[in-house]
């Protein structure tokens, strides 16, 4: 199927709405993507005609809901190339998936003096859970440093990932600079020392064809809402032999096998790690999102974003006076552009663009260590997805011209 941008845009109702009297130009998909009609309709249909709790009822509706919920798990496992569906655990979001690993696997396997390796480009959700675990266990956090172009400096990888390292946790793609990391070299080194590898796929899975088995991830965490699905659904994939050893981290309904007054036994995977009534409508809606992405094709989405990225980088370069972050090697970069007007705070840029109907993200993007590394307060971030156009980029440039006019007096020359 060819990539039909006009048809895709028609599938997203919000894209034909107006903001502040101007057509919406949505350039913040890295924060949360918009949703196609098929996802919205699927959720609506569930509540209108199929609503019931799962895994409990013997009646038709409950069985139907259970079937759809479990079908979404199967679709997820296929989408990421997992060996089977039971290694897909549904959570609330990427953050909860990472916390699940920290609280369950981490508390069991990380001990005093052990080391956890992260990068200086991590999102807070793949930093704070490890800080908390390291404090509790007297473990040590280490960081793979950055090159000036925001790629990872892997020259001292062997000294950073030593025999003491139990886990290497890093993003597949940075939410700030769009950097796509060279995971193969890191995973190879982790294998040499017997460390596990957790990949934060929140920004990766929505943009890049990904296969967790081929790429040999031990843990893979991501969220539905950045890939056309609803909010409130996160996913944790882990290799079955690892999940088998992981104790429950939350107790309650659905995760048990048998319960006495003083003790319980626990269910098999995946139920053991999914306590309580989950986000049923959300998971079912996520299934529809995966179908949508598959119908377009992940490689087609990647190609489209690369075209937009190249176009936008050229135009921003021509605009002049902007500080652009991230590598120019597009093979190592997704559709995210972080930039600054030297002298103008990103929040001021964001407010002025908002008035033009242009939605970008501004601030530290929950990646403060990176801002410290660059010595900046934050950045302006325009991020692309399958539904963005070159006209969106042109609108951004018009908005930036307005910023320049308003702040002309205080802009650094």
């Amino acid at each position: 199927m060819s990539f039909d941008l006009e048809k895709i845009r028609r599938d997203f109702p919000i894209l034909s709405t107006q903001m502040n009297g101007k057509p919406l130009v949505f350039l913040d998909s890295a924060a949360s993507s918009q949703k196609p009609k098929s996802v919205i309709d699927t959720i609506r249909k569930y509540y209108e005609a199929e609503n019931a709790n799962i895994h409990r009822g013997v009646y038709y509706l409950s069985q139907k809901a259970t079937e759809k919920y479990e079908m979404a798990r199967i679709k997820t496992s296929r989408f990421i190339g997992a060996a089977c569906a039971k290694v897909v655990i549904f959570t609330r979001n990427t953050t909860e998936s990472i916390n699940l690993v920290a609280q369950s696997w981490g508390r069991t396997n990380i001990h005093e003096g052990d080391e956890i390796v992260l990068t200086e480009l991590e999102h807070h959700s793949n930093l704070v859970p490890w800080q908390m675990l390291a404090q509790e266990k007297q473990a040590v956090l280490k960081f793979i440093p950055l090159n000036q172009d925001s790629t990872l400096d892997l020259t001292n990888l062997d000294e950073i990932i030593t025999e003491r390292v139990k886990l290497v946790a890093l993003a597949q793609m940075s939410n700030v600079t769009g950097t796509i990391h060279d995971l193969s070299a890191i995973i190879r080194r982790a294998r040499e020392v017997g460390a596990k590898v957790l990949i934060d796929g929140a920004q990766g899975i929505c943009h890049l064809p990904t296969n967790v088995q081929k790429e040999d991830f031990d843990f893979y965490a991501f969220s539905a809402h950045k890939m056309l699905g609803p909010t409130g659904v996160g996913i944790l994939y882990a290799k079955e032999e690892i999940l088998d050893t992981m104790p429950p981290w939350m107790g309650g309904g659905d995760m048990i096998s048998k319960v006495w007054k003083d003790k319980s036994t626990y269910a098999d995977l995946p139920a053991r790690l999914e306590a309580g009534t989950p986000n049923i409508s959300g998971v079912i809606g996520f299934g529809a999102a995966l179908e949508y992405l598959e119908s377009v094709g992940m490689q087609e989405i990647r190609n489209h974003e690369l075209e937009l990225l190249q176009y936008a980088l050229d135009r921003l370069e021509d605009f002049g006076g902007l500080e652009l972050y991230g590598t120019n090697d597009l093979s190592k970069r997704g559709g995210v552009i972080s930039f600054n007007f030297p002298g103008v705070h990103p929040h001021d840029v964001g407010s002025i663009l908002d008035e033009e109907g242009i939605a970008i993200r501004v601030g530290h993007h929950c990646a403060q260590p990176f801002m410290d590394f660059k010595g900046i307060a934050g950045t302006c971030r325009a991020s692309f997805y399958l539904y963005n156009t070159k006209e969106d980029v042109d609108s951004l440039l018009v908005g930036l011209k307005k910023v320049k006019e308003i702040f002309g007096r205080v802009l650094k020359r």
Partner: protein, 141 residues
């Protein structure tokens, strides 16, 4: 005049570019740090008192034009004033932004009215009030 034009007026940009009473103080009676954790804006206030009078005041900080210009206007407004005048101004300023009260500042505080446009941009109200919330912590309610 568009919203951003009415917000980013000469007076605000002037305070942003040339902040008044800017810098750390070595000896002070009151010191308070304020931060907006979601956006990372920071303001630190230093006050020196002579009885009830604010005999010296200064700030340092980092953040957007609104947060820093607001801090500059605050220090400019309160220099030489009493604590009770400060409390009254604080009340009036927060009333303008948080309770939609019509500002009625006396002439010497008229710069503050330039921040009224912020209340039409809810996401930025916390920027404009950061220095004032910090002052509130420093002097108590």
């Amino acid at each position: 005049m568009s919203l951003s034009d009415s917000l980013y007026q000469e007076v605000l940009l002037d305070h942003y570019q040339n902040p008044r009473h800017h810098g750390k103080m070595e000896q002070f009676h009151l010191h308070q740090e304020g931060v907006n954790p979601l956006c990372g804006d920071e303001v630190e206030l230093y006050l020196k008192l002579n009885g009830d009078i604010i005999s010296e005041i200064s700030f340092v900080g980092k953040g957007c034009s609104i947060s820093q210009a607001s801090a500059s206007m605050l220090t400019d407004s309160l220099y030489g004033k009493t604590i009770s005048e400060a409390k009254s101004l604080l009340h009036q300023f927060k009333g303008m932004l948080l309770e939609d009260k019509v500002p009625n500042f006396s002439e010497e505080y008229e710069d503050l009215e330039s921040l009224e446009a912020v209340k039409k941009i809810p996401a930025r109200i916390k920027c404009a009030t950061l220095a004032w919330n910090t002052l509130e912590k420093a002097i108590g309610k």
